[in-house]
């Protein structure tokens, strides 16, 4: 069966099944289990009201539980076993991993990524948001800088190969060096700095995201505070750093953490650009090296990522609860 046909059937079964489930379960609840026409129909309506939320929630909760909650436990459990999954080795995967040079390089690089990418993307996003704020063609500029958000990490990597290529007739960097009379270099093989050339790609993608959110936050600042500062004689820089930035600090933190979380998931760029060679490995790409080969090790790496993300998760939950109360 061709995949297209299979896809169409899946859409029909999936959508039809969902609609059918919701419709049928509600009908059964109202007409069969708790029909409101018997003697105690008031109580039955109340009972139905108590059950109904769970009918609405069941498919989502089931999928969430299976696809996101179970794996946290399942991955941890699997990481306690050896490669074949037959022998329980406790924290053996973790201890061998921590002793390994490659893993430590990946952790070190990942720390660089987690510092540089959110910082650079947030800073550039804030800069663009502020600069385009009063510009006539600001929306066009913003939409062009926002555009890389739509491009896949693989596509973006290919786009940047045309910047980094060491043939001066392909790569812009080496073309410039060629004009200046310097020998061509391969930016992706320069020790240590090659990490930053890879990070630039993610900064290029994420700046638009930071810009959109920070731009909205800047617009939300009450005009009076800025007017008051102007009357007091503040210059544009003072207004920006002393009046505007402190007021949107909360949003800046949110943007920063969101990009940090993303950094810990992106393996595509390293995978497509260097394949983890030349000491550019990061944790997600390090994990993919072991995927399909050593599930014990792969899940151990995944769990390390989870532990790094955990503080942000707790912080997010607390923020959400605060907001609800």
């Amino acid at each position: 069966m061709s995949p297209i046909l299979q896809g169409l059937i899946t859409i029909i079964i999936g959508v039809g099944g969902c609609v059918g489930y919701f419709f049928a379960s509600n009908w059964v609840l109202d007409k069969v289990i708790f029909p409101p026409r018997t003697d105690d129909h008031g109580r039955n309506i109340n009972r139905a009201t108590m059950v109904r939320p769970w009918l609405f929630l069941f498919p989502a909760m089931f999928a969430l539980g299976l696809y996101l909650v179970y794996p946290v436990v399942g991955s941890f459990w699997r990481s306690l076993f050896n490669r074949s999954g037959e022998e329980f080795i406790g924290l053996g995967n973790y201890t061998t991993m921590f002793a390994e040079e490659g893993f430590r390089t990946a952790v070190f690089n990942n720390i660089l990524w987690a510092i540089f990418v959110p910082a650079a993307a947030t800073f550039l996003g804030l800069l663009v948001a502020q600069l385009t704020d009063k510009l006539k063609w600001g929306n066009i500029a913003k939409s062009l800088i926002f555009m890389p958000m739509a491009i896949s990490f693989v596509g973006a990597s290919l786009i940047w190969k045309f910047v980094y290529a060491n043939d001066p007739d392909i790569g812009i960097i080496n073309a410039v060096r060629d004009v200046l009379g310097a020998d061509p270099i391969d930016p992706l093989q320069i020790p240590f700095w090659n990490n930053f050339f890879l990070m630039v790609i993610l900064v290029w993608i994420q700046t638009g995201f930071a810009m959109v959110i920070l731009s909205a936050a800047l617009r939300g600042i009450p005009e009076e505070t800025i007017e008051a500062a102007i009357i007091d004689g503040a210059n544009p820089f003072q207004i920006f750093f002393k009046i505007k930035v402190p007021q949107i600090m909360g949003t800046i933190v949110v943007v920063w953490t969101t990009i940090t979380i993303l950094v810990l998931k992106v393996f595509d760029i390293v995978y497509a650009m260097t394949g983890g060679n030349f000491d550019t490995e990061i944790l997600p790409s390090y994990m993919m090296d072991y995927m399909f080969r050593d599930d014990g090790r792969a899940t151990a790496v995944a769990f390390v990522i989870m532990i790094i993300v955990l503080p942000v998760m707790v912080w997010n939950i607390r923020q959400a609860r605060k907001e609800m109360n």
Binding site: P3, I4, G7, G14, V15, V19, F22, N26, T49, P53, F56, P59, A60, M61, A63, L64, Y67, L68, Y70, P71, G74, S75, L124, L127, L131, L135, G138, S143, L144, I145, M149, A150, S152, V154, G155, L158, K161, F162, V163, D169, V212, I213, A216, V254, V255, K265, D268, A272, M287, M288, M291, D295, T299, M313, V314, N316, I317, Q319, R321, E323
Partner: protein
Amino acid sequence: MDQMAGQKTSLSIVTNISVVALVLIWLIPTIGLLVSSFRDREQISETGWWASMFPVEVAYRVSPEPEGVTQDGTLYTFSGNLFSASDEVSAQGSGDVSAFGITGRDPGAATPGQTFGRLKLVVSEPDGTTDEENYETSWPADGQPTAPETDEDGRPVQDFYIDRAVTVAANGDFTWVQDGEIGRAPTIYIIAAAPPDFGLQNYEQILTSDNMDRAFINTLTVTIPATIIPILIAAFAAYALAWMDFRGRGFLIAMVVGLLVVPLQLALVPLLQLHNKVGIGQSFLGIWLAHTGFGLPLAIYLLRNYMVGLPRDIIESAKVDGATDFQVFTKIVLPLSFPALASFAIFQFLWTWNDLLVAKVFLPSNSESWVMTVKIADDLLGSRGGDWGILAAAAFISIAVPLIVFFAMQKYLVRGLLAGSVK
């Protein structure tokens, strides 16, 4: 006052210039890809894409059929025009030879107006015998070749004669001279300026012979169900979390927020094992389910945030009129939530279309099941690593659809982003 006004304009000029610079920096890499994808592959390797509007110097190999050969002693001669001798060269249209040669090693050894040829040097060995060796050189067309006094090894040159030589004028007229009868067409290399060559040949090749069309369809097959199914499931759950009262609601909302950041990597191994155990294995069904699960937290979160903001009056008056929750949801809440549904649909579409990780793990690894990202990352970057035109065309095919969606529905995307970031 004047001073303040002056400051303001200079500030606005600086602002304008810096924004132009930033936008250019952001666009240049993508423009490079787009331009390269339309260029002829030989031109790509000759000049950078930034010079693609200018003619490119390309080396051509021409083999004119010997016609009208005349004989002078042992030397045989014929002449003609190189541009009319080769379809490929004349198709380029331009009639200017900038350099020529007789070996592929050095196709631009001489300039038009010169004669370039191979001499046979007769050198004497230390033991008194003589030896012959090749020597390539150029000389003025109306002049005579000269030979060095000694060869590379320091042996004295006694005599020399022309083995073969060609004179080429800038307009392509040539005269070929050869010692001995001209058996087959000689090979002459010329370097001529070719006009910019843009076309769809890279796209044609990648789509017809490289199976990119198959990968495109696979991507589409993964994306559409994986976008539609989670929306429906999430909408019901979001409604329950927004407008129904029950114990544990706060906990469930907190759980959804927490799951937003769970790294996908955790799910890969246990779920693949699970899929294998229940018989789904690596398949399209498996990846649809996986994407549905991974997309749900954001979907529920976005939709709930939006639905909570809907006017309470409408929903309550509908309930007073006797509408059930199911009716309120389908008839009132769902249509009103269209902007949020659109936002999430775009997110999920972009995410599933651009995904590499989930596709690598949950789809079979044979080439029939490759989606475009896998095809590019695992196949083209390796097998066609140096073929920049093909790579560019493939990348552009894979990013074209998301770009269209992006520019057409940017409004909803921005709205979704603003609602999706925890304030």
